[in-house]
């Protein structure tokens, strides 16, 4: 059994803080969207306070993410290798849809050169560089509505921001659910969670046999 140090401390702290903020934001966001005295999930006032605080912290977390990935080796994992990408995406999807039930080995295993499987990489790029900026910008406009454009595409300024914010938030909620579930598809259901806490990816025999075959 070999251990691979893939997740440095800053990244783990970042990851779990982010995860907590995401959960808080999703719960309070849904509560505010469906607010009303007939279904008091979280009182509006409390929900707003938590949502705003968590939202601001998330902005800092995002900046932390950008800076750390710019100045450490972790950033390289986000650079996509376009050559053969469709085929690798196909392999990974096929594994999740079929291979996993037949006990096939993971088609791609994390190593120092590439930590993410192709599906992960593409998703993370979209999440971190498309959805997150849109979420943050629209969220900041909702936080400071006085700076929102009076008219945006001919519509009152806040409304398109709010719709954008909600829809992107829905996508990120879907991502979060999928991310947590796929986290259980490691060597054992808990092993990926353990790696993200301890920082080490455990290389199992299965991984080696795959490597030798290649």
């Amino acid at each position: 059994m070999k251990k691979l140090y893939l997740y440095p401390l800053w990244l783990r702290v970042w990851h779990w803080t982010n995860a907590t903020l995401y959960i808080l934001l999703i719960l309070t966001g849904i509560s505010m969207h469906y607010s009303g005295s007939d279904n008091p999930f979280i009182p509006f006032k409390t929900a707003r306070l938590i949502h705003n605080t968590a939202g601001i912290l998330l902005v800092f977390m995002y900046l932390d993410f950008l800076i750390n990935n710019l100045f450490t080796w972790n950033g390289k994992y986000y650079l996509p290798q376009f050559k053969g990408l469709p085929n690798r995406l196909y392999l990974q999807t096929r594994y999740y849809l079929f291979g996993i039930f037949k006990g096939e080995p993971h088609p791609f295993n994390p190593d120092e050169k590439s930590k993410f499987n192709p599906l992960q990489q593409v998703t993370y790029i979209f999440v971190m560089f498309v959805f997150m900026p849109v979420l943050i910008i629209s969220g900041l406009f909702l936080l400071f509505p006085e700076y929102a454009p009076d008219k945006f595409l001919g519509i009152g300024g806040l409304l398109p921001m709010a719709i954008l914010h909600t829809v992107v938030a829905y996508f990120l909620t879907l991502f979060t659910i999928a991310h947590i579930y796929l986290g259980t598809t490691g060597h054992t259901p808990a092993s990926n969670f353990k790696s993200m806490i301890g920082g080490y990816h455990i290389i199992t025999h299965e991984d080696h046999s795959k490597k030798e075959k290649d």
Binding site: Y34, R48, I100, G103, P145, A162
Partner: protein, 308 residues
Amino acid sequence: MRIKHKLLFLFMFLLFSEIPVIIAADHEVSNGFCLRCHGMKTLSYRDSTTNAIVSLFVDSTKFNHSNHADLNCTDCHTEEGFLQYPHSPSVKEENLYCTQCHEASEFKKFNFRQREKEFKKSVHHLKFGDKFSCFSCHDPHEFKTTFSEAIPKKMVAEDNIICLSCHDAPLQLSKLTNEPYHDLITAHQWLPKAQLHWKSVRCIECHTPATGDVYSHEILPAEKALKNCETCHTKNSILFSKLYRFRSKESRQKTGFFKTIVYNSPYVVGMTRDPFIDRLSILIFLLMLAGILAHGIGRWLATRRKLR
């Protein structure tokens, strides 16, 4: 200012006081006649009992845009005494109320009776009695209803200016009360973005009973005012029975994305929801959860088979 007034009164005094004149007899008097004097911005006097300066200025442009524009000054100020200068002492007896002239059935839609009843229960009347009247908020020479207008933003601005003309003006308040001035922002500190709220909701949304109608005049004591965010920030917002009451029924029931654009009303968290996006999002979430459940069960069965 004072010097100017004194000069003005001196001028008036010299011009008229010694020679009481009947300026107009029994024929119709044009508004121009009264406005010759009352159209002067500076025309005012100092009340001998309260020591406050009372303006006698009537803004003719605002008058001509008011609900009363078609009336002559003398239609309301019927006292003969106004026709001469100085106005005979009998004019002091004149005591006009909104409701007094507005009994007629043609005014029914404005609910004058009900407004008066509500006003009698309001903090202002209870605190100040006769010192506070309809005219404290409505200048009969300028009053214009917003009744027929269904544009919420405009209605909000026009209504709130009435309250703000006192509550945002320490000087005006000091004429009525000796209590220290509470500034509005501090009083509403619990409300985030108070200024933003005041552009989109009327003061009376929160300061009159939630069951009251769109123009309820029953201003409640501050501690009874609406503080619960969910009353507005929800699908069944009270704003639909109050501020937005003039929207057509059909549009009130559907409060989605497109309706909001059409009615150009603000985005209100919790209230402005697009039913289509809501339903679609719930559907997608359910599909996803079902997918995950199926996948998980599949994996579980697969490992069990492998173990056997």
